[in-house]
Symmetry: C2
Subunit: 198 residues, 2 copies
DNA sequence: AGTGAAAACGGACCGTGGTCCGTTTTTATT
DNA sequence: AATAAAAACGGACCACGGTCCGTTTTCACT
């Protein structure tokens, strides 16, 4: 749990003080434990502080806000996932044809976003962390699209291809309309073909 | 400000008591005034209650939550917009070819979502109101797509076409990446052509 | 080891969203 | 008009996110 995020856009120049590092570690462990036992909604900042054995001020000094704490918890699995895309086995990782990689990418992202929906929602879609996450996903999609020789405004088309995989949209389809996941995935593959063809 | 929402899926069987109706009216007026003067973030439920001259409990009895109140405020402009789509002048309203209507629809929705972004964000994307709004937009999109003889899973493709117009996605593009609105719109038109062609 | 400045800590404190329940208003009925 | 049940009201109250500032810890430098 001490690994640093992939793609460290701006690494801190000065390292953390020892007590700070120890407390961050304890807070993340406490937060994960509380999420497991009480669920996301049942987690309070006071409880996290108490469980980690630190004052509440420390939690906010480290993570800025509740959203920030959630984003930090989410960061573990995100980093892992990004590693699988960058250097894992094909077809998600490198080695497969671009179209296969794209389809594997979409399926994997969709499954992940559904599995972590509560946490992603609680982490908010703003802030620097959210930006970094989006940047990675968008960059990879644009790369695959350029490999497929897609014509047009690739940045915008990539966004359009990614948007249906985001949690608010999936929530609408799955939770409210009760749509099957396989059907959503098939629809997304169709979309991928339509956007990349020509 | 007393009109009822379009497409009243479930109209209340029993009408409101007179004091209840009067208070709702006063609360909506107060909320709108506070939004205009303090902005969405500066609006507090206590302030709305005070300005409307009622107790705080009444606000929550009427609207359930802050999100609910915001959704109710939003409902005015949403109703107006839906009316323009259903019975306004072409190309947004009926009378133009389906493809022109679709493009006008996308542009209009995009502009609206950007203009009301703060309010839409504060209203939340869940709850029955959000569902009703989404239902209308999705239904209309599916209708236009069927007019265009689009093949495939129309419900899923309509969602894919609408997703890039949603506030979280637009936020990312406009606010964070600083993308121009015209560019986003051109990209969306391209997307509409790719999804509907074949 | 001693020292001073910078960084981090802790928990009392505050504002706001949301609840609860005793009181008041409305409305249907006679 | 009187009455009673139902609905709505109001504001004290609570919980939680977030802030503030006096105290403690760390660390670089001597």
């Amino acid at each position: 749990m001490t690994e640093r995020p992939l793609l460290p856009l701006l690494e801190d120049a000065t390292p953390e003080r020892r007590d700070a590092a120890r407390n961050r570690e304890a807070l993340l462990v406490a937060a994960q434990a509380l999420i497991d036992s009480c669920g996301i909604d049942g987690l309070t900042m006071d409880a996290v502080a108490a469980k980690a054995g630190v004052g509440k001020g420390t939690v906010f000094r480290r993570f800025g806000s509740r959203e920030g704490l959630m984003a930090a918890v989410l960061d573990f699995s995100e980093t892992e996932w990004q590693a699988a895309v960058i250097s894992g086995p094909p077809p998600l990782g490198p080695g497969a044809p671009a179209m296969e990689r794209l389809l594997a990418f979409g399926r994997s992202r969709l499954e992940r976003n559904l599995m972590l929906a509560d946490l992603i929602r609680a982490a908010g879609w703003s802030g620097p962390r959210g930006f970094a996450v989006y940047s990675f996903v968008a960059m990879h999609t644009r790369y695959l699209m350029s490999e497929l020789h897609v014509t047009g405004d690739i940045a915008v088309l990539a966004t359009a291809l990614l948007a249906p995989l985001e949690v608010p949209v999936l929530d609408q389809q799955v939770r409210i309309e009760g749509m099957e996941i396989d059907r959503i995935m098939e629809g997304w593959e169709d979309l991928a073909h339509r956007i990349t063809q020509r």
